[in-house]
Subunit: 340 residues, 2 copies
């Protein structure tokens, strides 16, 4: 990506092992993330492009001398952030803050919207998949790289449980994943705030009990009305923009939890007496430590208990990846797979 | 209080029953709160004074026709906020957000730095004390009105438990109470950030394992060093000013919790990728629902398990209450009792 709206497919240097803890993975299937749309709308034009993409399935091509548990030919899924998965922070379940971890597309590591990618901390990062897995499951397996488990993280940090009313702000792929995860965790009511019917219909299939199309103050009033004036125990914010944050503190119940997973496009926000503090609202969330949840979710997908791959409604070959950005930016498609 | 630094003692109308759910209580012992110092430093001068004080022990003088469980002559402690203690929000344990609740010194309800005060929602608010309680316990009982249970609330919302490292920002009476509560909850390490030795000495007696006198970036660096570079699992912020908030997100460990009970003197604050979101830090806290914790803490005081009254280091008669403000503002005294 060379700037807002400017996505190009180029030949670059072939990824190679740099550190002994690296692997090189040939990408089988990748996709475009809602968070990729933030730079797609705002990145300043530059001479040098930024490698894009951080969600992928692939086949291990080469491993560094210190990589254990992986071999050439293994079929793997990668979390969107790499991590050693052994340090104290990883053991706490916060792999996205691993001191030896990092992000694809940064610091000399390539993006996953590519034919191949170098994976640092490969032993801690990559999770092996059955080599003979049913091809129909690939989209759902791809969601374990980020989108489904980001929605899951929202619900997990929001402490969704039986008897709770959960409101999900955003009908994008992460918001819908948060609906699915909340239903799995036993939420009593799930209010989905969104206005794109094909999406909210999928949300209903996944467990949304009510859909609120209104936004802003009207949306806040509607959710308060639906909850007897008390507000929602838990609000999962899957957008990342200030109006969504404002909605969140408007509808959260006293003592309730706002869990954010949309990457915030702001640094400062209201947190004082009039927003969070006065009603003892908790603000939580961050980049999902996908690795912490991956093994259990993988089994759920393989056993057919969840089908998060339904967030994908299109696929393009790698050389048409710019079309995928356009389709998601205009909301023509929900989430687009990219096949090298 | 007629403005910053302008505290006067005046004859006002005698408090009377207004609503059938009211009681009138003759105040036995009150005190000045750290939060009273915020207006003491910044309240614009006005023609009409604001009634002050919200912490008190007293004797019931009269009850409204709908007040159950209380009678003239009962010795009681009042939480700093009144609440019906029966609604869904109160049952959740968030009495400070009760729709029928409110604050002393507001909306026609007087302050507790007075000879008597009208208590709305008296049945839900007031807690009876043994009439023959040892006089030496009165300071500790008075802390159940606010300060000790505000420190307790910080630790409770921060989910302090065995094995955790807790950092308390602020060596005021609430910060020290947070140390005491954290020790009771089994925290492994308690780092107290403060520089007033008489106070940090009491903090050490109550369970602080380390004291950090540095502030700002130096203070952050020192706590990070003490925690092997990882930061503190839990940060209890008992100040309410922006530098304390900035310290809090600087020292919290990835996936950790910042729990605020100092009334924020700001509305907007950093919450984006560079402060809270990037490391999945949780921000929680608010006005303590003292009523939720009062019964258990009362038993702890009566049985001698805790002695939170040690935060009081002076007492004045009501007509010298202005001296109490001055002494606390200049940090000559930690917390001052007021006896009508």
């Amino acid at each position: 990506m060379y700037g807002a709206g400017d996505v190009r497919v180029e030949e670059t240097a072939v990824p190679r092992i740099v550190e002994p803890t690296d692997a090189v993975v040939r990408v089988t299937l990748a996709c475009v993330c809602g968070s990729d749309l933030h730079p797609y709308r705002s990145l300043p034009a530059a001479e040098e492009g930024v490698p894009m993409g951080h969600e992928f399935l692939g086949v291990v091509e080469e491993t560094g001398s210190e990589v254990t548990g992986l071999a050439k030919g293994d079929f793997v899924v990668s979390p969107f952030a790499f991590a050693d998965n052994t340090c104290a922070i990883c053991r706490d379940g916060f792999q996205t803050a691993c001191p030896r971890g990092g992000w694809y597309g940064n610091g000399g590591v390539g993006g996953a919207q590519a034919e191949a990618v170098r994976v640092p901390q490969a032993a801690g990062t990559l999770v092996k998949l059955p080599g003979d897995v049913d091809g129909a499951l690939l989209p759902s397996l791809l969601t374990l790289s980020d989108v489904y488990l980001t929605g899951y993280h929202a619900a997990h940090m929001g402490r969704v449980s039986a008897g709770k009313t959960v409101t999900v702000i955003g009908d994008g792929a992460v918001g819908l994943s948060a609906v699915l995860a909340s239903a799995r965790m036993g939420a009593e009511r799930i209010i989905l705030m969104g206005r794109h019917q094909a999406r909210t219909d999928l949300g209903r299939e996944w467990g949304a009990t009510e859909v609120v199309a209104e936004r802003g103050e009207e949306g806040v009033a509607r959710v308060r009305e639906l909850t007897g004036g008390e507000g929602s125990h838990i609000v999962l914010e899957a957008v990342g923009l200030m109006p969504a944050y404002e909605q969140a503190y408007g509808i959260v119940r006293p003592g309730g939890i706002i869990s954010r997973v949309g990457v915030p496009q702001y640094e400062e926000a209201p947190v004082g007496f009039g927003s969070l503090f006065g009603k003892n609202a908790t603000l939580t969330g961050g980049p999902a430590p996908v690795r912490a949840y991956l093994d259990a979710a993988l089994q759920d997908v393989l056993d057919g208990r969840i089908d998060p791959g339904r967030v994908f409604d299109a696929e393009v070959p790698l050389d048409q990846v710019a079309d995928a950005y356009r389709a998601m930016d205009t909301r023509t498609h929900l989430k687009v797979m990219v096949r090298p």
